[in-house]
């Protein structure tokens, strides 16, 4: 069963369409929700929590309808907001115990789960001090702890690495990975930063202007792809034609040619073609696709472009 499933989900604010005809299934695991600021990530999260009625279309979370079962969804889902949401005058323990009780845990269970959860996110002695004196990294951990304290089946993390320094960012990403693997809790992590998500996510959903750009597994996107990049000093177009004639798939990417790598003979074919043209070979290298290319290559929603061809 998909964790989240939407069908033609649409949200309009007056004339502005925040989410447009979005149909996507989010499977269990760590899933990245990527989009620029204003792409509709937060709107989607609010609808998934059952806090914002859709203009049209429908969505289910853990098999529950967001339009009718909002409370039941929020009992089983955790949410970490992007913005500050912590009162400065209480300790992390006090806040998280309170939030555990607000999720329906009895007092004793709330205390026990709070102690466990704060330890798991890496807050120790400082959990008894007022939150007002915490660093950004510690505050992010408290925000994460309150989203996990009731042992949800799914957590929604909105830009969890915002404001963190590189070391704090690494810690947070490691923690997110552990939530998905060790804790066995599915994660939907929204971010506008591609690079960090490819390290922790099993799957990425990319939205832009409220529309699904693509949805595919991280392995598909970032695996070493069977391509070689070739750069020559001149007559790039002639080389491309020659290689096509030899039966190879060729795409022009800026000054580079991307040639489908069939087997080791492909390198020889390229070398021979370059020699025949009498031009200089600047580089010829095996290429790995990175998720950043999702935004730079023309795409179709189902990922039929050459990035996926393997």
């Amino acid at each position: 069963m998909p964790m989240i499933s939407t069908e033609a989900l649409t949200k309009r604010y007056g004339s502005v369409t925040a989410v447009s005809e979005l149909s996507v299934d989010v499977e269990p695991g760590v899933v990245g929700l990527i989009g620029a600021n204003g792409a509709g990530k937060s709107t989607l999260i609010k609808m998934v929590l059952g806090l914002l009625p859709a203009t049209s279309g429908r969505a289910t979370v853990l098999g529950l309808d967001v339009a009718t079962d909002g409370a039941a969804i929020r009992e089983r889902v955790g949410y970490m907001p992007e913005h500050d949401c912590l009162p400065p005058d209480v300790s992390a323990t006090e806040l998280v115990v309170h939030m555990a009780r607000m999720s329906g845990l009895p007092r004793a269970a709330a205390r026990e789960r709070t102690a466990d959860t704060l330890r798991h996110v890496g807050l120790y002695e400082e959990r008894y001090r007022s939150i007002g004196g915490y660093s950004t990294g510690m505050k992010q951990r408290v925000k994460l702890a309150q989203a996990l304290v009731h042992d949800p089946q799914l957590v929604l993390l909105d830009e969890p690495t915002n404001g963190l320094d590189p070391a704090g960012r690494d810690d947070m990403l490691g923690l997110i990975r552990r939530i998905g693997t060790e804790f066995g809790i599915s994660v939907l992590v929204a971010s506008h930063l591609l690079g960090e998500l490819e390290r922790v996510c099993d799957h990425v959903v990319v939205i832009d202007a409220g529309q699904l750009l693509r949805s595919s597994s991280t392995a598909d996107v970032t695996a070493a792809s069977p391509l070689i990049a070739v750069e020559v000093t001149e007559r790039t177009e002639d080389l491309a034609a020659a290689l096509r004639q030899a039966g190879l798939g060729v795409a022009t990417v800026g000054p580079l040619l991307e040639v489908d790598l069939r087997d080791d003979m492909t390198y020889d074919v390229v070398r021979d073609a370059v020699v025949r043209l009498g031009v200089g070979l600047v580089r010829m290298e095996r290429r790995r696709h990175r998720m950043a290319e999702i935004f730079t290559t023309p795409t179709t929603p189902d990922g039929g472009q050459h990035v996926d061809a393997r």
Binding site: L51, V77, C85, L86, R101, E182
Partner: protein
């Protein structure tokens, strides 16, 4: 769309982690429903209004005010008991009227403490992403401040009552007036908590909220006193009676004296049976309006 789904059992992998890391444990216990969560929020908020479970600093003001409002009652009770008086020097139903300033200061302090913080620091996001609905939050906060304010007024009344019993005053005469005053204290708490919370919810800065609530309640009391005094002086009896509608304390006192049979301590009480009904209707109307305004305010709060 194939994702390596991690089975939940993976968390129980033995031998992983260091010696004091027990690994992640899932929660299989009970999950309480909306009603129980609302009740938990009510209890914590009501205790919080006396600083219980909060820092020492937030206990100081409520407990000082509780002492301030109880001290006169304690003195009266002790004097009555020692001198074996045949009558308490004050009516139960008049006590809150005489010490209304203390109650005002209490509500002005605690209404912002209860709601402004959650709005200003956007803690509402954390509440709204939980099973609780907005109306549950509003109801719990309203009930909590009402209960806390009621306790503030009921404690001195109870001290007076105990004093009367120790002075061996006839129980049959004391009980009805004591119960009437508790009813009045409850209505006063409802009205004051409503007004206080509405003002606090639209002024997220706590200091501003405190000042605004004091100002509004003081102005209402001042207007009421002045209008009633002038009308009474001009022998406009009906008008003077209805002037009691202006301030929460005189409003409830009017209900007490005309409908509950308490003695009227003001220059003019609600005129006739109609007056009593009007006063009660205004109490109900103010409470309903405050609750409705709070709901509207919180509907605008997003996560």
């Amino acid at each position: 769309m194939s994702t390596p789904a991690e089975p939940r059992a993976a968390a129980a992998r033995p031998g992983a982690g260091v010696i004091h890391d027990l690994g992640y444990r899932h929660y299989d216990g009970v999950r309480l429903g909306r009603a129980a969560i609302t009740r938990a929020l009510f209890v914590e908020s009501a205790k919080g209004a006396y600083g219980l479970g909060r820092s020492t600093r937030s206990k100081v003001m409520p407990l000082l005010l509780l002492a301030a409002i109880s001290l006169p009652a304690l003195i009266i009770a002790v004097v009555a008991a020692v001198t074996a008086a045949d009558k308490l020097p004050t009516n139960y139903t008049a006590y809150a009227l005489h010490l209304q300033l203390v109650v005002m200061v209490y509500v002005a302090g605690q209404a912002p403490a209860g709601v402004s913080r959650d709005l200003r620091f956007r803690v509402m996001s954390l509440y709204l992403s939980r099973p609780l609905e907005r109306i549950d939050y509003v109801a719990a906060k309203y009930a909590a401040l009402t209960a806390a304010t009621f306790v503030l007024m009921a404690l001195p009344l109870t001290i007076l009552f105990v004093g009367a019993l120790l002075a061996k005053l006839p129980v049959g005469e004391q009980v009805p007036d004591y119960l009437r005053s508790l009813g009045g204290a409850f209505l006063t708490a409802l009205v004051l908590a409503g007004i206080g919370l509405v003002i606090a919810a639209v002024t997220p800065r706590r200091g501003l909220g405190v000042a605004a609530i004091i100002a509004v309640l003081a102005v209402l009391a001042g207007v009421q006193g002045a209008v009633q005094g002038i009308a009474d002086h001009e022998n406009q009896d009906t008008f003077a009676g209805y002037a009691g509608l202006f301030s929460p304390f005189t409003l409830v006192h009017g209900v007490q004296s005309s409908l509950l049979g308490a003695e009227n301590e003001l220059p003019a009480g609600p005129p006739g049976a109609l007056g009593g009904v009007v006063f009660l209707a205004v109490v109900v109307g103010v409470v309903a309006a405050c609750f409705g305004a709070l709901l509207l305010r919180y509907r605008r709060v997003s996560i």
